[in-house]
Subunit: 336 residues, 2 copies
DNA sequence: CACCCGTCATGAATCGATTCATGCACGTCA
DNA sequence: TGACGTGCATGAATCGATTCATGACGGGTG
């Protein structure tokens, strides 16, 4: 493998000069620069990131750890983060904790070994303990889609209470006086907050808390949604309005409801959450609460870079909260 | 940041011994080992991957470069690759070329700088030129979902001609005598091969090549599918059978067809490709050609590790071709 | 007692790029 | 002419872990 020394020898200069050609070309005379450049091209020299990194102390990679790469919402977050990072010359390593605390811990220690520049993470560990490892190593991190409980880090999130309220208000305005919330694992703040928002909307409309029935799925994916849909259909009287903690669940529910030949939205209105592309593409387009996923990824990356670029003592952690937006589609239109 | 030297000093041993405790514990006496271990824990020492890597010459990371992370098919491939790599203690860096040759080139050079252990790639560049960079750097790579034209590398793919034939045979068996192929960018082999398979099936059934009408989408995603669906509806006479190059397109077509109040499958049968989870979750569950995506990712990673572990001279490149499978669902049931 | 062997620990050399104190050559100005 | 500055190039030191030749020590054997 050709290294900087080979280039230096071929070009008849010192290694320091080659390094300068690459990193501070203005310090090198025109003539030397072109000569060295041409040798670099001829030999196909590619500098070793590990050597650079070793010297510099930190890598040029930002890690992104998400809960579920099978959820297009996180794919969008990744897209936003990647774009922002690339603009600053950083690479992004996207990893999937699959909502498992142990996977999360393993990945975080992998990141620590890599001396990544920083980590963008939607934690799976409800205790937040797994992040201690990062703190001990002084690796900056930004919480994504989660508010930092103790303000120990920056965070970018979307107001899930508002989102839940928007969804429920919409259903209430359409005349529904009771609704079902299809949630997921209780320890996910997202799941809890969306429910809290829905409850608040009911209360504001003068409806009792009992107007909200909850069905709890054990994962947040389509097949869990199908199971939830089956349970939903077993309820008596049959619910007329359903709000799901995310679109994957909603699509599963939709499918189960369809299979039972119940028409949407006439007999049952369904609202999802995230507004993934497949929500609009469902045969009955899904009403959903849109989250600015790409923007969230971008902001998170930008905040991380802000933190790592300035001097770390002066840095003040920020909590950015974005607003969700209701997107009304066919699955919840007011029946005439 | 605490390094191996700090550990050595605290534990009263040499750096070499600390290294041995970590990497070859059997060479160290019980007593020393536990003492060093406890110092490691106390100080929170985490070894620097960059330093290891610099010495070792190659990193412990495998790169995966896919065409579209928005396509759940590639998410599954990533899942398979990740699982296999993790079992061998390797990390996976997943990146998205978004079908852009220039992005691809940038990422590949990033990988080269990182001295990744190897690359799993579904090339976007139709010329295959972008891979030369890897070859020059002697970075092993495995083609995913693509056959190596010149056998210059290993590859794992699925027989797309067979897949296309399966889809078309199914439609022909249901009584359709002409069909529309909704394809994508012509330079993607996947798109071409699936079409070729469909043509072959027509021929085998004694139907003329004109029985296949082609509509070409410019991307392989849902919104391109919607556009294609609109064009499809403009055809006269209206087609009764549609085969799409992937499920994203098919979902878009389905949506457009639904919006036009044409019933599926009674008035129009639709078959997709990939069998992503959302295919089954569509309100009219989509008939699709299933590809063993997770297995493909796993195999690709395994072949890469096989290539990198043995001595590279002895390695013989292999071309593994998997078989697709038709999954019949509601979108194509034979009308009674 | 001399010798050998096995078990452990040592510490210098190494990987490749960056950085910075040093110095050379040339030009300018007093 | 000597002093000084500027523009460039130099090469040794450095980052942190691994590796390996070396050697210390203790026990067993002839």
């Amino acid at each position: 493998m050709v290294g900087i020394k080979d280039v230096a020898r071929q070009a008849g200069v010192s290694v320091g000069t080659v390094s300068n050609v690459i990193n501070r070309p203005d310090l090198v005379s025109e003539e030397t620069r072109t000569r060295v450049q041409s040798v670099i091209n001829k030999l196909g020299y590619i500098r070793s990131e590990s050597a650079r990194q070793l010297r510099a102390g930190a890598s040029r990679i930002v890690a992104l750890l998400v809960l579920d790469m099978g959820n297009p919402f996180f794919v969008d977050v990744a897209k936003g983060a990647e774009r922002a990072a690339r603009q600053s010359g950083l690479g992004v390593m996207v990893c999937n904790s699959a909502q498992s605390t142990s996977e999360e811990v393993e990945y975080l220690s992998l990141f620590a070994e890599q001396r990544v520049r920083g980590v963008l993470v939607t934690p799976a560990d409800p205790t937040g303990r797994s992040l201690d490892a990062l703190r001990r190593q002084r690796i900056p991190y930004v919480l994504v889609d989660r508010v930092s409980a103790d303000a120990a880090a920056c965070s970018v999130s979307v107001d899930d209470v508002v989102g839940g309220r928007l969804a429920a208000q919409h259903l209430i305005a359409a005349g529904h006086t009771s609704l079902v919330y299809v949630g997921g694992p209780r320890d996910l703040p997202q799941v809890r907050d969306r429910r809290a928002g829905a409850l608040a909307a009911l209360q504001e409309a003068g409806l009792p808390p009992e107007a909200l029935t909850e069905i709890s799925a054990d994962r947040l994916d389509v097949s869990a949604g199908r199971d939830a849909g089956a349970r939903l259909l077993g309820l008596a009287p049959r619910p007329t309005a359903v709000f799901c903690a995310n679109d994957l669940l909603a699509l599963g529910v939709l499918q189960a409801v369809f299979a039972a030949r119940i028409s949407v939205p006439e007999q049952m209105a369904i609202v999802g959450y995230d507004d993934i592309e497949f929500a609009a593409a469902a045969a009955v387009p899904l009403t959903s609460v849109r989250q600015p996923a790409v923007a969230m990824g971008r902001l998170a990356a930008e905040m991380l870079m802000e933190e790592t670029s300035g001097d770390s003592e002066a840095h003040e952690h920020r909590q950015v909260v974005l607003q969700p937006e209701l997107v009304v589609r066919g699955s919840s239109l007011t029946p005439r």
